[in-house]
Amino acid sequence: MTQTPFLSRLWIPVVLLAIAAPWLISGYELSLLGRFLAMSILAIGLMLVWGEAGILTLGQGVFFGLGGYALAIHMKLAGLEPGSLPDFMEWSGITALPWWWVPFKSPVLATLMVVVVPGVFAGFFSWLVFRRRVVGVYFALITQALALSFATLLVSQQGATGGFNGLTNFQTLYGFDLNAARAPVVLYWVTLALVVVCFAGVRWLIRSRFGMLLRATRDGENRVRFLGYDTTPYKVVAFTLAAMLAGIGGALFTLHAGVISPALVGVVPSIEMVVWVAVGGRGSLWGAVIGTLAVNFAKDEISSYLPGAWLYVLGLVFILVVGFLPRGIMGLAEDLTRRSARKPQPQPVEAPQ
């Protein structure tokens, strides 16, 4: 998505405003903004894999959850006196800590796991599916089944994962007290910093020849193969990167929300993640961030005043955005602020799979 000069210079005031946010808005709104910014890291990854590489994935909740649970397990262990077990294990009849919980004791290893576990899992899964040239709608449906199975698995292994309640009640992280007065603001800035870093990283990737190859695969995968490219590794790397970003988003979200549970990683949340990027504009990084903030703030507002109406709104947003505004808010802003005569912007026509 080529930025008009006006829009591309806009990021400066926006980032400054974001840094100043703790003084501009109330504590509750700051916690919301921080949480939604954490989610926007996932959206950035989704924009890379869907917007750029044309791979629709309905299972990002899985990697969001893997990142979240990795950090949550560490925080549960950090808050324990040596030798005792987390509360939910005792009343689930577990007597000893599961072996795979032990490595999460070390903060460094746990932080690495937040990115490595989703990455490795996504890499292996996508390699298995992409190498057999399963694409498009087939792939989307398999990822949805993956999200359902992951949520079901989490709930059924209650002794090790906290089951349907998930993991909550975190006290400290890296020695910092999470309940301290300063904690929310510090967490907000850490999140903002990570958003900027991930944003810049993915923007650089999109501008590179790797990104160009992804767009070529999106618009004509067969064509690219007949130029001598094995497109599978490109798609697997894009999917793995998106999963790592989702892991980071999940870990940060867990810190903001204070809870990570199967209800946040199943089928419905995973599809809502797609609507964030669709609303914002799947072809633009800004779209992914702005879409995430717009949809989630709207959800918080609407469900407060009209509880029953939210699903109608969400349903309509899906249909209208996908039907009439395929390039989302950013696409609209793009067209409105374009000074020169509107050059016909090629629609992102998907090659029939």
């Binding site: 926006v14 109330s26 949480r35 089951g163």
Partner: protein, 396 residues
């Protein structure tokens, strides 16, 4: 073109500050936080109605310490993270004095850190798996030793020897069954099967085959919501309706029975601490008032009554403590006698409600006939002595 860019910066900081009012002098704000959308809306909307009815009645009778109660209603949307999010909003933004709400254990667990951090007070109306002892929650819902264990005692007295446990795959059923298995073994009886089905699961073919193979005397059922419909329909299809093979359920109240069609679950048993058919003038009045307001065939369930009495308990505690401060209120609430449709009840030292257990049998008219009553109110114990011997809950 300015609006477009305005839209962009606005969207990032879409934080139109809504009315963040502190208490206007003649009023006091309280939070009502239930799922009004999503899969749990089925059960929680009616609890919200009961809580609002109690608030209206109190306001009509002059309010609390001369102040009118202003309820702030929020939707937890069946999502634990949203429950935590809205609880934070109610306490930090709306500055509520206390919050009534929660249903699933997941929502309560997610809200727990919020209430402990802000030192506020949650009134939790639903039976649950116990094993929790937080100073910032008033547990009016039954502990396992006030619902699950008494029902087992009734079943043993009724002569059932072989028990089959089936439940939805989440925390309450798994922990309840853990407690049941320990008690069944201690009392020299047999657990002949234990099966779990994912939440919202609809295929019980394998489970029924295992029930037929195990030939139990009675089934202890902790399935939740939709799954009960599938379970009873497929049991009936296999020729094992409740009158042939007795079923004791812990998540089927009058409302669920009505939705499933009473013919399907007729003659099945349920263990609760309240039934709509309970005798007593207070209960008759409450049922009549509720049905007058929300429809004459509206069913009244155990959590609704607890939600209703929670509001009155809070009022009584505030008036005794002469303060809205949550810590003072919870100290005053302990031991304070509260008149309720369940008769006179009070909160024990561990901030759980002392209440009587009942076992009812579903009649064709959709009401439960009281089959058995625990002799007197049961002291709540969050940590079941048989299953979790070395733990106890000391709060005051």
């Amino acid at each position: 073109m300015k609006q477009a860019t305005g839209l962009l910066t606005g969207a990032l900081l879409a934080t139109a500050a809504f009315s963040v009012g502190a208490h206007a002098e003649g009023t006091v704000k309280v939070g009502v936080l239930q799922s009004l959308s999503g899969t749990m809306a089925i059960s929680e909307v009616t609890v919200k109605n009961a809580e609002m009815m109690a608030i209206d009645e109190i306001n009509a009778a002059g309010g609390v310490m001369g102040k009118k109660i202003v309820p702030v209603v929020e939707d937890g949307a069946s999502d634990p993270a949203i429950f935590a999010q809205k609880a934070t909003k109610l306490i930090q933004d709306d500055k509520v004095a206390t919050v009534f709400g929660g249903w699933t254990s997941a929502s309560r667990k997610a809200m727990l850190p919020v209430f402990q951090r802000t030192k506020n007070l949650l009134w939790y109306p639903v039976q649950f798996e116990g094993n929790e002892c937080s100073p910032n929650i008033m547990y009016s819902g039954a502990q396992p030793n006030q619902q699950i264990v008494p029902s087992l005692k009734w079943a043993e007295k009724a002569g059932y020897k072989k028990y089959f446990l089936i439940g939805s795959d989440y925390v309450f059923p798994r922990t309840a069954n853990l407690i049941l298995k320990k008690h069944i073994a201690k009392d020299g009886l047999k657990t002949v099967g234990e099966q779990y089905v994912p939440l919202g699961g609809t295929d019980f073919s394998a489970v029924i085959a295992k029930i037929q193979a195990a030939k139990p005397d009675i089934i202890f059922n902790t399935l939740n919501g939709d799954s009960n419909v599938s379970f009873f329909k497929q049991m009936a299809a296999a020729g094992m309706s409740p009158e042939k093979l007795p079923v004791m359920s812990f998540s089927i109240g009058e409302q669920e029975a009505q939705a499933m069609g009473t013919k399907l679950v007729q003659d099945s048993f349920a263990g609760w601490n309240y039934f709509e058919s309970l005798p007593g003038a207070a209960n008759k009045k409450f049922v009549a008032d509720y049905q007058a307001k929300f429809g004459k065939n509206a069913a009244i369930t155990d959590p609704m009554v607890h939600g209703y009495l929670d509001v009155y308990a809070w009022k009584a505690a505030v008036e005794k403590a002469k303060s809205f401060n949550p810590d003072k209120v919870r100290a005053a609430a302990v031991g304070l006698k509260i008149a309720s449709p369940m008769g006179d009840v009070h909160f024990a030292q561990n901030q759980s409600l002392v209440q009587t257990a009942y076992v009812g049998k579903l009649q064709p008219d959709g009401q439960f006939k009281i089959e058995w009553k625990s002799d007197g109110a049961i002291q709540p114990d969050p940590y079941d002595p048989v299953a979790f011997p070395n733990k106890s809950c000391k709060l005051h």
